[in-house]
Amino acid sequence: MIHVRQLTKSYPDLQRGKFVALDNVSFDAMPGQIYGLLGPNGAGKTTALRILSTVLQPTSGMATINGFDIVQHAERVRRQIGFVSNNTAIYDRMTGWELIEYFGRLHELDEDILNSRMEAIFDRFHMNNIRDLLGSKMSTGMKQKVSIARALIHDPPVLIFDEATLGLDLIVSREVIKTIEILREQGKCIIYSSHIMTEVQRMCDRVAILVGGRLVAEGTFDELSDRYDESDFEELFYQLLLKHEKQDELQIHSA
């Protein structure tokens, strides 16, 4: 479903010359699977997901979503995905209903299908109370629900969640996680990025650990535990982080 091969993204940087945000990253995610992207802040998770959602273009490498190349067929890729990020805010001066309707229309849904889907989504996420509420009057949890509803309106086969529970209270974040699990059961291919260990461990079927833009480990939790001989996943993650940060420091000194 999602095939990523040697994806690299670098930016010109006055201080460092070139800043490599993503360095030769490759992975595959399949339908009915939640694929976790795990990494500390600045590891390149958001960059990778922005590239997959065609907002950014890769410097080199390639990726396909549902068979469509993210560079060659960017518009088709955008029809295949639903992207929820803490960067993808909702409009302050639009009601929840208007916003979902707007994105449904951009996805060229028929009037009847759009209306029935909107009713279903508003029922499923218990959002009927915020139908006519402006974005600026919504709480963070409400906004995140609208954001998820916006990403689901066109029933995409691929869903990308970037730190989707960041800043949410326990009840709302549980609700979001439950929704994502239901979507997996529906056979969606889901990429979920986070730096919260418990969340990833609970939800994801496979994980890729990113540090400094590089993919340092990839596999199921069992595979990773066996490979690194560590049953505590949080400790495993911490050790990997320390190891690669030390390597980076050494590289900087030798340079």
Partner: protein, 738 residues
């Protein structure tokens, strides 16, 4: 581009803006309330303005004879004052033996002392509240005049200037009275001494006067408000969306960037039009109300009346392209900003660029002609003015050029805005810590074989700035040797030096940058032949440009001066060396060498050619010359791209320059160089005969097309050179191994 998506984006943005109180306040409430408030303030101010009183000190009034009628009871006769001014002038009269008399009488000849005295007098007048001091001096014996008057005023003070006007009015009326009295004593009348009476018949009707007045005011107002009205929504739609994080949400949707941008441009455009119309209506109503209140029909402003209906129609019609252009520009510029606050900073440069183009049509001498109609915004403003004035026949002739230029500008601006939204370094720009050290390190680290796009543009701008300053400061030389020396020095300093220094500092290979790594000597004769063939086309273009933009008298003087200098040159080869070869070498190093090499990083064939030609044209300070050199620059850049070498460019450039010198007729025997091709010499120089010029242009066009579509690569001209260089490399390698 799907229109349904454009419509969706447009409707959403409109709804969003209409729900924003700040936008509604700026677009709707401010125009409707601001002008009435300003009008009210003006009325209040007018009261103060009307009642400005002035205080005049009169020293030595005893020298004015009582029978002169100017003084009554030691005071100036008030009958000579205007009725309105009678209560507003306060006179204080002192005798000449008063200290003031001594102060005013002291008039040192020494410049320093005079300055000190003026300062002291100014201080004293301010301290005592006098706006004007007048000293009456008794007339010298034998003089016809009864007395002379010295006035001490402060021209930097408006009240003092008003006092001078009022005092002069008194003197004028008094003198007039005296003359009439004296003439009457001899049974004569003043009318007998006046020249033939003039009767002025104004054929303009009231409507025409109204149209002429509004034609000057309204286009300017519309232009300013449509720009301002476009910019604030544009900031909210671009920088505001970035700030709120909704832009990324939209970019993830299936809508293309072009659809998003066009939707945003349309929203901005509608707001721009609405702001302009509301401002116009509010300003007109308030203006007329204030004018009427100030003086009814007697007041000239009130007498003008409201703008004619046709003016409103033309304004609304013109508003559409004006707003479209400003909206596209505003969206493109606002896309740079990371926040609404940062967006505000970009408004001023946009106004600064647009202002001269908007102000130009306000000048009384600027009229609608082919030249002005081709200037963006200015042409449109002048067309609008002509239409409002009702000169439809004149306007129709220039609708075509103005429409073409305006549509082209709108298209370029829209393309730029779409480009901005497709450029992730603009959309997701992070702030860098800029410091000289970082910048230098970055420049050295990022050096490539050829310059970067930014380096090329910087070099072009630097050349223009240097040319501007050196051009202003260089003293004109009246002798050939000095002229030749100055020409070469200026060329090196302003054109060659920036390109040479920047190529050495900013690139890894100066030879590659200057296209000197491949000499392609065989293409040199071809380039010379091409220059020869295309020269008649540039001559025709040059004549056409001079028809459209006639040269000023200064330019003709400069031309004459250049002809004199060239005539005094020792020989033609020397002239060609200085005026043809030297510019060719130095300008090619800069424009086709450094600038074009840098611009070729743009992934498009035509943009580097176009931009380098634009710099080349702009570097020639005279507009008429710049237009022609822009097109020469296009051909030169095409030659550079296809030949991959600077030598053919230098050859082409030098040939072109040499032919231009010969054709200008500066050398009396110019036709001996091109026998059979030229018509007899006229005052404007030589011209090509019709048939040869047609044949030459056709041959030149064919060569250029053949060259551009890869003919050169397929021909033996380049392959032979390639084989020669391979052979010499092989020979060198064999020699080394032996």
């Amino acid at each position: 581009m799907k229109l349904s998506n454009v419509k969706l984006v447009f409707r959403r943005e409109m709804r969003d803006q209409l729900r924003d109180r700040r936008t509604l306040f700026t677009i709707g409430v401010i125009p409707l309330l601001l002008y009435p408030l300003m009008g009210m303030a003006m009325l209040q101010m007018a009261q103060f303005m009307q009642k400005t009183s002035t205080k005049i000190l009169l020293v030595g009034s005893e020298h004015i004879p009582e029978d002169s009628g100017l003084v009554v009871d030691g005071r100036l006769n008030e009958k000579y004052l205007k009725t309105d001014d009678k209560d507003l002038v306060e006179f204080e009269t002192v005798k000449s033996n008063d200290p003031w008399g001594k102060i005013l009488a002291y008039q040192p000849e020494n410049e320093k002392l005079a300055k000190q005295n003026s300062r002291k007098l100014r201080r004293l007048m301010r301290r005592h509240g006098y706006d004007l001091a007048v000293r009456i001096v008794p007339a010298k014996k034998g003089s016809d005049e009864p007395f002379t008057v010295s006035i001490f005023s402060n021209s930097s003070n408006d009240k003092s200037k008003l006092a001078v006007a009022r005092f002069n009015e008194i003197l004028y009326c008094w003198k007039n009275d005296r003359v009439q009295e004296k003439l009457a004593a001899h049974n004569l009348s003043l009318n007998q001494f006046q020249s033939a009476p003039t009767e002025v018949n104004d054929v303009a009707d009231k409507m025409m006067m109204r149209a002429t007045f509004w034609a000057k005011v309204l286009p300017f107002v519309i232009m300013i408000w449509s720009l301002t009205g476009a910019f604030y929504p544009a900031i909210d739609l671009c920088a505001g969306e970035k700030e709120r994080g909704t832009l990324e949400t939209l970019l993830c949707s299936p809508a293309k960037r072009s659809e998003i941008v066009v939707g945003k441009i349309m929203t901005t455009m509608l707001f721009s039009i609405t702001t302009s119309v509301l401002n116009l209506v509010s300003m007109a109503f308030t203006g007329l109300f204030v004018a009427k209140h100030l003086g009814g029909d007697a007041n000239p402003v009130a007498a003008i009346g409201p703008p004619p209906m046709s003016a409103i129609f033309w304004l609304i019609l013109a508003l559409i392209p004006i707003s479209a252009l400003f909206s596209a520009l505003a969206i493109a510029v606002a896309a740079f900003a990371r926040s609404s606050k940062e967006g505000q900073y970009y408004l001023m440069p946009l106004i600064m660029i647009a202002m001269p183009l908007v102000m130009l049509p306000m000048l009384p001498s600027s009229t609608l002609n082919l030249g002005t109609s081709l200037i963006p915004l200015t042409g449109l403003m002048l067309l609008l003015r002509t239409l409002i004035e009702g000169h439809y026949t004149q306007a129709i002739a220039f609708v075509g050029p103005v429409t073409i230029v305006t549509v082209a500008c709108c298209w370029f601006a829209a393309r730029w805005a779409i480009g901005q939204f497709s450029n992730e370094s603009v959309l997701f720009r992070a702030s860098d810590r800029v410091g000289l050290g970082n910048l230098v390190r970055h420049v050295i680290r990022e050096r490539q074989d050829t310059p970067l796009i930014g380096h090329a543009i910087f070099c072009g701008v630097l050349i223009l700035v240097l040319k501007f300053f050196v051009g202003l400061s260089a003293t004109p030389q009246m002798e050939w040797n000095a002229f030749a020396r100055t020409t070469v020095i200026v060329l090196i300093a302003t054109v060659a030096m920036p390109a040479v220094i920047m190529a050495l500092m900013l690139t890894r290979s100066a030879r590659k940058t200057w296209l000197l790594d491949r000499l392609n000597l065989r293409t040199v004769p071809l380039a010379i032949f091409l220059a020869f063939c295309l020269h008649p086309a540039f001559m025709i273009l040059s004549r056409a440009v001079l028809e459209v933009f006639p040269p000023s008298s200064n330019l003709n003087v400069l031309d004459g001066y250049l002809s004199q200098l060239v005539a005094s040159a020792p020989s033609l080869p020397f002239v060609l060396l200085i005026m043809a070869l030297a510019p060719a070498v130095f300008e090619e190093l800069a424009f086709r060498g450094f600038i074009l090499s840098g611009l070729r990083h743009i992934k498009n064939h035509w943009w580097p050619i176009f931009i380098s030609a634009l710099f080349f044209g702009a570097a020639h300070a005279v507009l008429q010359q710049s237009i022609v050199t822009f097109f020469v620059g296009i051909v030169l850049a095409m030659v550079a791209v296809r030949c991959g070498s600077l030598l053919p460019c230098i050859a082409y450039h030098a040939t072109h320059n040499a032919l231009s010198i010969v054709m200008s007729g500066m050398f009396p025997s110019g036709n001996q160089f091109l026998p059979g091709l030229l018509l007899p010499k006229t005052t404007g120089g030589y011209d090509y005969a019709f048939l040869p010029s047609i044949l030459m242009i056709s041959a030149g066009a064919l060569i250029l097309i053949w060259m551009w579509f890869g003919g050169l690569e397929k021909s033996r001209l380049l392959t032979l050179d390639r084989w020669t260089s391979r052979l010499s490399a092989w020979l060198r390698a064999t020699r080394v191994s032996q």
